[in-house]
């Protein structure tokens, strides 16, 4: 398949399975201007040979089937076409893909956990397909850790009336580089809930996107990140409303602390002319806890129809609220504890959305650990 262009929108106009269709980024391109290319260890320019490993193990619910398949499996690449150079590189380079299927009308009795562990030197490329067939329901956890230079694409294919809840945890070692696309394709009346938590890694660039094939789709994407000194954590959201009467809601919140901590959030929503009755909202908030940290937050809402049910976005980056800290201190609570409470509060509403108790506890513990640093 060759280069596709969608001239109706200025956002994300290209997609191709072919690496050569994308120029090597220079850092001047809109889609790359925030990313420190020199720290990508060659993922962007074809020099990162696939000499490393990221082990993928799956602990699946009994109702769910797990397969490791070759490149020629027909289920791969059906829902998503790579939208940038690294995504295409990952698509061209992976050897084995993991395909998880939740059969029609099956309700998974527990979360299926996909554990990805990097083990040191060399780049690795991956591909995962999670297919939830009509009327089925499942919770899937992607747990990334270890040391790696890793690029991958993940496809979530959600059938008619099906529900998929995904928790993706990026808690890599300090030297890791991870560039990833997560694409969710929602069929008629499908429900998608995504919870992204990014904490560890030198550079993490995660691009979650959503598309709809029929009306009634409902996507809710939540993200939480905590950026420490020297880290670059980037989330690039794209929700593309191409059919009528679908809903999307994006809420990402992050805290930053330390010299050269850098968060990037791009929130693109396109409502195409045919997507009447769309209801969408996106929000990003950053809490900057120290000097030397920087948050770039860019919401883009492109509306090509006059008939929307609701469309809005909000972005704010700011310091810890002195008045809140004062109020708590005035009740005897020491500064450090007051700060901890306010930051907890900042994330609290997001954490409540993690319905998997053990994951919520783990994320909470990870946030606690970040606050203790």
């Amino acid at each position: 398949m060759g280069l596709e262009t969608k001239p109706l929108s200025t956002l994300h106009e290209r997609s191709s399975y072919n690496v050569a269709d994308f120029d090597v980024p220079t850092g001047r391109e809109e889609e790359w201007r925030f990313t420190p290319l020199s720290r990508l260890k060659g993922l962007h320019n074809g020099t990162a040979a696939a000499s490393g490993t990221v082990d993928v193990t799956v602990d699946a619910a009994p109702e769910v089937t797990v397969e490791t398949v070759g490149r020629d499996d027909v289920r791969i690449g059906k829902a998503y076409v790579p939208a940038d150079r690294i995504s295409a590189q990952a698509y061209a380079s992976f050897e084995k893909a993991t395909v998880i299927t939740v059969p029609r009308e099956a309700v998974a009795s527990r979360p299926s956990v996909i554990t990805l562990r990097g083990s040191g030197d060399g780049a690795a490329y991956g591909h995962i397909v999670v297919k939830v067939e009509a009327m089925a329901e499942a919770v899937v956890v992607l747990d990334h850790g270890g040391s790696a230079v890793y690029a991958d694409n993940v496809e979530f294919v959600i059938g008619d009336g099906a529900t998929l809840k995904v928790v993706s945890l990026q808690d890599w070692d300090d030297d890791a580089v991870h560039v990833s696309h997560h694409h969710a394709q929602l069929a008629k009346d499908a429900t998608f809930r995504s919870f992204v938590v990014t904490l560890g890694g030198d550079v993490v660039r995660l691009s979650p996107s959503v598309s709809y094939t029929a009306p009634g789709g409902d996507a809710d994407l939540t993200g939480l990140y905590f950026v420490d000194a020297g880290q670059h954590l980037e989330h690039r959201l794209l929700v593309e409303h191409t059919v009528p009467n679908c809903r999307s809601n994006v809420t990402y919140k992050g805290a930053l602390q330390g010299e050269d901590a850098h968060a990037v959030w791009i929130g693109d929503v396109i409502i195409r002319a045919e997507a009447e009755g769309t209801d969408t909202y996106e929000l990003n908030r950053n809490l900057i806890l120290t000097d030397g940290a920087r948050a770039d937050s860019v919401p883009n809402l492109e509306i090509l129809t006059g008939e929307v049910a609701g469309a809005g976005h909000a972005s704010a980056s700011g310091r810890l609220d002195d008045e809140q800290v004062f109020y708590l201190q005035a009740r005897g609570i020491p500064f450090d504890e007051a700060r901890r409470l306010v930051i907890h509060g900042f994330f609290a509403q997001l954490l409540e959305k993690i319905e998997v108790e053990e994951i919520r506890e783990r994320v909470l513990a990870a946030v606690e650990a970040e606050l203790a640093r």
Partner: protein, 258 residues
């Protein structure tokens, strides 16, 4: 016996001097009312004593039980026994009333309250102030009405049991029923029962009541009344002074200081 001693206190916001030499002593068992027109510096006094970073102490001393209050951090002042019921309590999103109160009690007492005891005290405190029990799970001050915020401040007063309580315009924005409920809470803190008789339990507490209007003084009877104008106390007296202000207003003081 707790005593708050304020001597020749000068406070500025930026380059602007707001308080220009305040002298005031509040002893335990006493209730002092500070009254004055808007902009006279009443709230500045309250926030400066609590240690709000916006206010700079340019000279003077404040002692709480002989300890230098001005040397203490905001939270140290609270743990030393000073409480400020704020005119505009701050919303703290994502922190429930229950979690907030438990953290505050833990900090002030130096140890976490037993869960059962805390739940009991909280329920009793909320009942006494006619606060809906569901409030315990709501985010602190978020979406509270003006009256709900003030009740929540007095709930904290009763649970934290400070030595000296500064109540900054606690009566503002309250309807008659809420004013009565809040005043009863303040009186319980002072150790007075519903009939106004001393129960002896408030012997170690002093109250500094800051208000623009006299109506709360019908419920919370002051021992001393101070009139504030242009950043200092310009007249002092007993409860009868409040009556005079009720009838004559602040005009005489604002003219004199202008």
């Amino acid at each position: 016996m707790p005593t708050l001693e304020i001597r020749d206190l000068h406070v500025a916001v930026g380059d602007k001097e707001i308080l220009r030499g305040v002298d005031l002593t509040v002893r335990s068992g006493e209730t002092h009312a500070i009254m004055g027109p808007n902009g006279s510096g009443k709230s500045t006094l309250a926030y400066a004593l609590a240690g709000h970073p916006k206010y700079t102490i340019t000279s003077g001393t404040v002692l709480l039980d002989g300890e230098d209050l001005l040397e203490m951090k905001v939270d140290e002042r609270a743990r030393a026994g000073l409480f400020l019921a704020m005119q505009y309590p701050v919303e703290v999103p994502g922190v429930s009333v229950s979690n907030f109160l438990r953290s505050a009690i833990t900090a002030v007492r130096g140890e976490a309250p037993k869960l059962r005891e805390f739940a009991k005290d909280l329920k009793a405190g909320m009942d006494a102030l006619s606060i809906d029990p569901a409030f315990a799970q709501r985010n602190t001050n978020e979406g509270f009405s003006g009256g709900e915020k003030k009740r929540h401040e007095i709930l904290q007063l009763e649970l934290l049991k400070p030595k000296i309580a500064i109540l900054d315009e606690t009566d503002s924005g309250l309807d008659v029923d809420a004013l009565r409920v809040v005043s009863e809470g303040i009186n319980r803190f002072r150790g007075l029962d519903a009939s106004g008789a001393d129960t002896g339990s408030g012997v170690d507490t002093g109250v500094l009541l800051i208000t623009h209007y006299t109506r709360i003084l019908r419920y919370v009877k002051p021992d001393f009344v101070h009139v504030f104008a242009a950043g200092r106390i310009v007249e002092e007296g007993g409860p009868e002074l409040a009556e005079k202000l009720e009838n004559e207003g602040y005009e005489a003081y604002t003219k004199a200081s202008a």
